[in-house]
Symmetry: D2
Subunit: 465 residues, 4 copies
């Protein structure tokens, strides 16, 4: 899936606790590795004696952090956050980590996920005369912890977890400790790493690899992990909830080199390609991946089908997020700026074009045109996930239903829209087998969410504007 039209993921979190090592640069590098989880704001908060120092800002890690401000963040315990922000024109104030003063000193919090009862909780807090600074659901968690803190830290965290509903992977600084929490369904990923005298928590294991830390294990669904000078302790919330990790992490969001809940993402995508080849074979000459999103599945498809892979679409490496077509009417040139057809390779061939998903269908339509202009005889589109039919309430910024071709059109209609000679999606069954988890949240495909969500509500209704 090209950058132009994509599902946006919400956030990445990272934390580090060291006995003797300054870890601000570890967090910086860790966030670099998690940059794909959010590119609109970034922040790092570090414990410095009795308070928390922080730097936050809009943009990429490299936009926000400089040699100077990083060196001012020196410390041994800290957290970081990358965010894709969705809430309007004053995004800067919603950048995380959130840092607050309360009666035991400071608290800082980084959150990946989405609360579905944020509005109710906000009203409860405000009725008590409390002041909220932002429209973010994440700030509510801070207030709840502060409110119940007089009962003790662990008890306050437990009460908070009891009150908030939705998805959350949290990294928290409080009392000089680093705390990691994953929601009772384990919807968003969170894992633990270790290197020498330092513990890490990270949304994905690729954040550990970059600094040479070892992946210890995932934080469990409903687990509170507390890291301090005595090491790592775990508190488990008692609950009947089933673990249901978001399956879309495997399809699109997570980096291929990450291992989430024990499964390597590249491997899962390769398996998706293999299942896709079994479910929807086609007589063709060449498997062409949409770069870079279609590459792992194209390998699996090629292995299973025996049809070779070829780079029929070449990327312009220098077209980054800053590219803007000077005029609206130039939009159609957009795909050509980013990709060119390798005519030598595709001319006269029957092509299997592989991507991980279709959202609006407009980009795929242009890619099919491009390949045909380049001389392809046939273009068969194979998508390594099922059609996205439902909104996500747990942290993924899906378009509205009427923009989702999967929700409004049959596969046949989508095929006609994109001008392909044939089109197949991976089945939900094939997807689950590829991932190999017992249970997972497949709500965006089948509407079966880990908890009840109020039907008519759009995601934005959960936040007070």
């Amino acid at each position: 899936m090209l950058n132009m039209i994509k599902l946006k993921e919400e956030c990445g979190v990272f934390g580090a606790y060291s006995l003797n090592t300054n870890i601000q640069k570890h967090i910086y590098y860790g966030l670099q590795a998690l940059q794909h989880r959010g590119q609109e704001s970034a922040g790092i908060a570090i414990v410095q004696g009795s308070y928390v120092n922080y730097v936050k800002g809009m943009g990429l890690i490299t936009d926000v952090f400089t040699k100077e401000n990083l060196s001012a963040l020196e410390g041994k315990v800290g957290i970081g956050h990358v965010r894709y922000s969705t809430t309007g024109n004053n995004e800067a104030r919603n950048a995380q980590p959130f840092v607050a003063n309360f009666h035991n000193g400071y608290m800082a919090l980084a959150h990946n996920g989405n609360l579905i009862n944020a509005l109710e909780l906000r009203q409860e807090l405000e009725n008590e005369g409390r002041i909220l600074q932002t429209t973010s659901d994440s700030e509510i968690i801070l207030h709840l912890i502060a409110k119940y803190y007089s009962k003790g830290l662990i008890e306050a965290l437990k009460i908070t977890i009891g009150k908030i509903k939705g998805s959350y992977a949290l990294a928290i600084l409080i009392e000089g400790k680093l705390i990691g929490i994953r929601d009772v369904n384990g919807i968003r990923p969170l894992c633990i790493g270790k290197k020498d005298d330092t513990y890490y928590i990270a949304s994905e294991s690729c954040g550990l690899d970059v600094i040479g830390a070892e992946l210890i294990r995932d934080v469990e669904a409903g687990e509170i992990v507390i890291i301090d000078d005595e090491g790592l302790r775990s508190v488990k919330i008692e609950t009947n909830e089933k673990k249901m990790p978001c399956i879309f992490e495997y399809i699109y969001f997570a980096r291929p080199d990450s291992i989430l809940d024990g499964k390597n993402v590249y491997k899962v995508r390769y398996e998706m390609g293999r299942h896709l080849a079994k479910e929807s074979p086609v007589n063709a000459d060449l498997v062409v991946p949409v770069p870079d999103s279609g590459i792992p599945a194209s390998r699996g498809y090629s292995f299973e089908s025996g049809i070779p892979v070829g780079e029929g679409l070449i990327k312009n490496k220098y077209i980054g997020r800053t590219f803007i077509c000077p005029e609206q009417t130039d939009r159609e040139i957009g795909v050509r700026i980013k990709l060119n057809v390798l005519k030598e390779l595709v001319k006269g061939k029957k092509i299997i074009l592989i991507d991980d998903s279709i959202v609006r269908g407009t980009t795929m339509k242009r890619l099919v045109e491009l390949l045909k202009e380049g001389g392809a005889k046939e273009v068969h589109v194979r998508i390594s996930s099922p059609p996205v039919k439902y909104s996500c309430y747990f942290g993924i910024d899906t378009p509205t239903k009427k923009e989702l071709v999967g929700a409004t059109m049959s596969v046949e209609e989508i095929k006609d829209l994109i001008g392909a000679d044939s089109l197949s999606f991976l089945s939900i069954e094939g997807l689950k087998e590829s991932v190999g988890l017992n249970t997972a949240c497949t709500g965006c495909f089948d509407g079966k969410y880990p908890m009840e969500v109020l039907g008519g509500r759009s995601k934005y209704l959960f936040e007070k504007k």
Copy 2:
């Protein structure tokens, strides 16, 4: 007093409530006129339906506001703030107005002044599990209003006023109303203006002049002014406190064209010059003001003494706040960059050099040198205020005592330090007569404050770092 070494004032506030007119530009222009009260951050908050929109940033009004962001602030009710911030490396978060969500919707607050019991109040709030975002005393006022809001707005304001001690001129947006409050001693100035269907409140009347509004009256000490669709209402706090406006506003802070508590500032300064001439006459040829701070007093001195005024020191108009000597060792060139001696005028003459105050003495020393290099036969320094001997706890950022020459040296010693042929300060008595108020806060000269302050505490102790 040159820009280089000066007493810093804290803030200016401005508010507007109109029935039918968009007032965001009135606030912009009003803040322009109040820019001398704070140059480090600025902000405007405007009521837009059921929420408050705002723009805040570091720097001058012209740095923070653009045509674009001003037009996004369209509305009929709003407040603004200019600030000189004193609290450390994350100043941006302390920019005002503070805007918060609480259970009745939004609240926004702009504050000029300083609370002396901020630390105690902060602890009280945090003990209740409340979260404070900043280290600013102004945020505490927001929390108190929210905490007591369930008792009704007026009652909440009264309780809040009963709890906070110190100086405060406040402009508040709440329930769609504009509220102005001045502390029970009336330490910081605040006045009311009107033009057509719009009411204004402003730290100084020059903020009304710029938009062509008429000065109605000052907000009284201990008065709450509520402006809404039914017009202007006044609630008076019952108190035994005496009105004691800050006398330093007249000496240095306020703009000469402002009228504070019925007294025109230029006129007061002119009178200071007259009293100074009577108290400390000297046989000389020319009265030379330090531009621009010494000008009004130099006129009064000249009138009383019959000695003509001449521009012996010429300013470089293009040296603004951005000027930085490329190297530390170039500091001595600093004064020469900003001022040049008009040798034609001063050569061979006995000069009376007039300024409004002496803080560290270093600039005055260089000015005396400059005049002597320029050929002045004698340089007699006359200061139109008494020596500053005590710290201010009510909103003025005085240097520490050991930096204040007035606190550590006799007049004779200061005279030697600056190399003048003679030196006199205005007496406290002469100052009071020049101002013409029955009572005023003269704490920085005589240590007599409007309320008890804890002796050893520096101003910074009142804030939690």
Copy 3:
């Protein structure tokens, strides 16, 4: 005259030659002192071994130079320039000093003035297959020196001076020498200073004062000054031309503390005020200068008339060049943002309002209104120069004739336009007496220029677009 509507001066030049001292910061400070001569671009060029290093950019000195780029300019011989650029949308390439490579190495040139035969010279150069990079007349001087350089440096300079017509004060770096040249009429000012082992040349003596250098003398009309390791040499061009310095430098452009051709500018302006009082007395209570341009003349007027001066108009010190009214329709608020009336002073009084010139009359109209709104009983405007009736071809950017009220209206009509109770200008005779020079260029008042200019041509015709 307020900043808003003004005559614009073209440039300031500065040069330094030292045996043993690094002078890049002297040039920096010297240009600071000359900043009033041009605010749109600035540059410094320094000899470093066998080449010239330079930094140029748009904006004020403080915009263009940083600690870093200044320290990269370390050297003992250099020149600098501040410019008000008039030539279209690519101003950056016209910033000076111009630096070029030619067969003897480098050459750098800074120019204040305007050539009136630029078009003819440009055609001559281009016909020889030479390439010009800019549309600036100054570049032509570089090419002529390079073209004739094979005849020897002095000869090449003499031939160049023989070919170029118009006004020019030049600072040139070539062969490791610093060269200063003033046109044969001495229209633009240029002076020589010395301090320790360093010689300086500067457009005005205030540039010498700031670095503590002594004013030695002016460069003479038609003089070439060559400064190198052997000291200062002078070559005089033989000519019948009379020295005719621009009289407008004394009226408006030069800083009051400068001494041009032996005359102190403040003193000259004071004399203008005296002559004005003699020529156009009026029965009034108060002399009010337009800040800051009317101040020196107001003193002379007051001295001669015995009527006291008072600051009836107060400036907002924080409104700088960056101020932009957010919308066109806010223009009328412009004057009020910059100036406020001191009502206490002007109420009920007959005012004499003094300024140095009137260009379009719009600002003066608003000032008269402002004073009357402030309660002034009468406002009598007195201008310390004659009406500007003719364009300048020698370096001053006058508006077109139809925008000049002096060229299109009688004094009576201007009086009605600005709403004054009376209006007088200084006579040309009074002006000349105030300045005290035998001859001067008064072309903008009487059309008598130092050389023939082609009547119908606007100044822009002399440059190839």
Copy 4:
């Protein structure tokens, strides 16, 4: 080859001539597609009536051009340039196209290549009293054309070509015409395209694809192509020189989707992989390309050897050119930030690691380490080009000889340096067969250049500092 340590290419040029279409955006998009040829400055020059308007600046196309400045460049004839600049601290002035005024009006020039007799030509020009603005060899070409222009345009171009030695692909605007020139050896590429009423010239055909233009043919070695209202004319220089295109374009510089002198670059690289597999087979489990540079050759190697390709190294897409390790000591983390090993894929396997070249060897050393840390049993490095042993004098910025491992070490020593289990380079013979051209410049591999270069001279000696 990773971005970190690479051979730098010099420039890309693009031109457009249309009868009726505004082509500024075509040039913008064309330069986007050529962005890989230079990322340090960019510029576009457009004919507008009797002059040339242009925008140039440092950085990527997207840094330099905005909607606003592009729309100011409206026109039907123009050229553009992307540059990797090599000449010191004032790069902005060396940005191209160069634009100049000469006696027939304007001229603009964009140059890819390097002149080896620049110093001699510069001296000749300067001896004639001409002024050069830059240290660029490209400016010399402008001066020569201007100098000989009086003999007529075509004659002037022929004389210029006769005098300049080295490599050059030129796009020139003069007399309203678009002119393309390729040096007599055809060292740098240049091709011609057409779409509707518009002709294009471009360094690579990928610049034509992006705007939907058709590749007509390459400009021939020693050919002048003149495009004007009468269409396309060709003038051929008579010469005995052989066509010798730079072979490194095929190995590394050109985009894989381009066709240069009739050869598709991806195809050539695929063939290099095949030849490499034949020349240097190895018993292994997996072919791993260094992304993205090793991908095409890895496919050819896999096809020939039957060993599957796998993405063993995963790129962080968000690490762009702005990434800077906060401290020198963090350099070693650099590779890990950009690439991560896919352990699932490489664990326990014998790996063939493919890249297109080795320059210093430091990056390759880290990649081998990374793969071994990730569990690879063996790592066999295969490079799809011969070792680089000689400097390039014709437009490629090779490191100095002592930094080139190929020039200073044997293959065995390099193998030990990088820690590989085996290492092979493609033979020069294999390279030539893969490309399939009769003659080509292979100077960087065997020191055989298309013309004599003065032995000891470094490339920088050809430019006057």
